[in-house]
Symmetry: C2
Subunit: 362 residues, 2 copies
């Protein structure tokens, strides 16, 4: 990966990484006690209580405000998509960026339902057009074909990470208190598979799936391409670590979303991840900054085989398992009302004392 | 079960049962085609698409309005609770009715989050008080101890079924287009187990769980009580069928919620069931009127072992699996935003054509 370390804003990235706190164990314990006092059998709201405690611990607040959600959908194109790893042609990325900007894409509908602010970011598409309302942070149009070349150079990776972190900061300054991740990019489930394989040391076969619907021949070609890309990245001279794997294998949208994750975590802001691709961005972020893992909330389990492995590595239990395989942040948006409900239980539910209900201690 | 058939409004119940339509297969097929035209890989929104099609089919409308939810929480006491089948004493039912009326109970918080109208019904508690805002439909205070006597007579069962159906009709007349079920009643998971065992012919051991948290000795006592109650009901002379099993085994809140289910289904109104107890009410309703099964939407999977068996019998897949074991309609309320999201996808999402996105057919 060609890069001139002298021109990289590495000090800024290092400062960002160093500023990320872990979630508060003290707040988590205090919230667990608060929930035990609520007028219900202990832990009878199950994962909703774990979610409330996790959310509060990330915020470092025992009684956090109701979440104000933003959902960042980052798009990019991928050189590997020319190898038949997707059921769709690359031009669909640009078409979908326009649909996301126009309000008719699935995640637009779901974000409206969730009351989330939607921000569409072009992190590296091939599109000529820049639809109104899309934040264009491109340094390149499309990434390299990772089977034969790096996706981007390290300088680009660092710039996209920092751009993502700045965007998270801007959304938080505008009022967001929790941020969801979404993505769009033809070919990016192959890229997510390559990153997951390389970062977690899994063989390509275990982490490569059908994405939006390739057939058996497509799956075989995709798996072979993922294996070849990982092999190339691992054998490149003088390279190691998450930043170099990101530059070798990662897409622009994944780099940007990893930066959003870092920027949100640095500001004690929960990050609701979506499916396999956004989770690969979270893997990049937590490889760079392990403390960021404690800021994550897993929304749903994707049918992609690598997703469960990545979530297990991150010690996350997804809230939903609805067979979603669209991406876009659709699962993150669907989960937001559940996150709001968990916080509302913590804030608004009566205690045994306040409701004058007999507590058996069960 | 003592009853005088001459005084029973059986004609009204029979007319209600006879008026229940099945969901529309034509609408379901049309909606599936509509969803296939949306700008996404086919079926990539998984269970959300099945939910949209099911909702529309129940409403017999290809493009239903956004759901307007009501949530009916029915409470009652149970003679069997004196046998140590619950971790809580019977007086908690009345205390919780007051908490439900006061707005501090868990489901009050969750219904507000979901934008659902909450109706609390006292269907048979021992309470002396009638808190403001609670609909009191009691004909008795507490049911019989089903180990040694019927829960109620057939006349009471019929009156509660019809009262539930009328309440559903009133809510629908007031604007509700989908109705969730919730319940509160110390001891009612034992009653649900007895009904599930009797209606589906399972041994007590397979359908009896820890409810809100009995210990091992409590579980053994509960299982034995359920087995004895079912044995008594089955061996009672001259009795058979769901109505008689309801009178022998069922609680007043379960009878009322079975009536809500029938009344909603008769008006093409989806019924969002909650956990084990509300599902036992749905079993009663669908045993009386098999067509009502097509009006059900399963919200969540309870840890109670009989719940999965009951849902399987009803051919329902729950949307959530969050380890909820509170009841009150908490799972139904948490699911409502997902139902709204499914309908919004159907109503508002762009098609490949309208969004000018290339359709690969995948």
């Amino acid at each position: 990966v060609p890069s001139d370390p002298g021109t990289l804003p590495m000090a800024e990235l290092d400062a960002l990484i160093g500023s990320i706190p872990t979630a508060s164990d003290d707040v988590r314990a205090a919230v667990a006690a608060d929930l035990d006092a609520k007028a219900q059998p202990r832990r009878s709201l199950g994962m909703l209580e774990e979610l409330a405690a996790r959310y509060a611990a990330i915020r470092h607040e025992r009684r956090p405000d109701p979440p104000a959600f933003a959902l960042v959908v980052a798009a990019a194109d991928h050189g590997i998509s020319r190898r038949g790893v997707s059921a769709y042609p690359p031009e669909v990325t640009a078409q979908m960026v326009a649909a996301l900007a126009g309000g008719g894409a699935a995640v637009c509908v779901l974000a409206r339902q969730a009351g989330a602010r939607l921000l569409v970011v072009d992190a590296g598409s091939l599109a000529d057009a820049r639809p109104d309302g899309v934040l264009d942070v491109r340094t390149q149009r499309g990434s390299g074909d990772i089977v034969s070349e790096p996706a981007m150079n390290v300088a680009e990776a660092v710039r996209l990470l920092l751009a993502g972190a700045r965007t998270a900061g801007d959304l938080i300054a505008d009022g967001a208190t929790a941020i969801g991740l979404g993505e769009m990019g033809i070919g990016n489930s192959a890229v997510a598979a390559a990153l997951t394989a390389a970062l977690l040391d899994f063989p390509a076969e275990r982490v490569t799936g059908r994405g939006t619907g390739v057939d058996d021949a497509g799956l075989a070609a995709k798996t072979a391409a993922v294996a070849a890309a990982v092999q190339r990245a691992h054998s490149a001279p003088g390279q190691s670590g998450a930043l170099h794997l990101l530059a070798h294998l990662g897409g622009h949208e994944i780099a940007f979303l990893a930066g959003v994750t870092l920027g949100a975590a640095a500001r004690r802001t929960p990050v609701v991840i979506d499916g396999y691709i956004s989770t690969s961005a979270a893997l990049v972020a937590t490889s760079l900054a392990p403390a960021a893992a404690s800021a994550l909330i897993a929304s749903h389990l994707s049918p992609e085989p690598g997703h469960a492995l990545a979530l297990e590595h991150l010690r996350l239990r997804p809230l939903l398992d609805l067979g979603l395989r669209l991406g876009e942040g659709s699962g993150a948006a669907l989960t937001m009302p559940i996150v709001s409900a968990a916080v509302a239980i913590l804030r608004d539910m009566a205690t045994f004392d306040s409701a004058q209900v007999t507590d058996s201690g069960a």
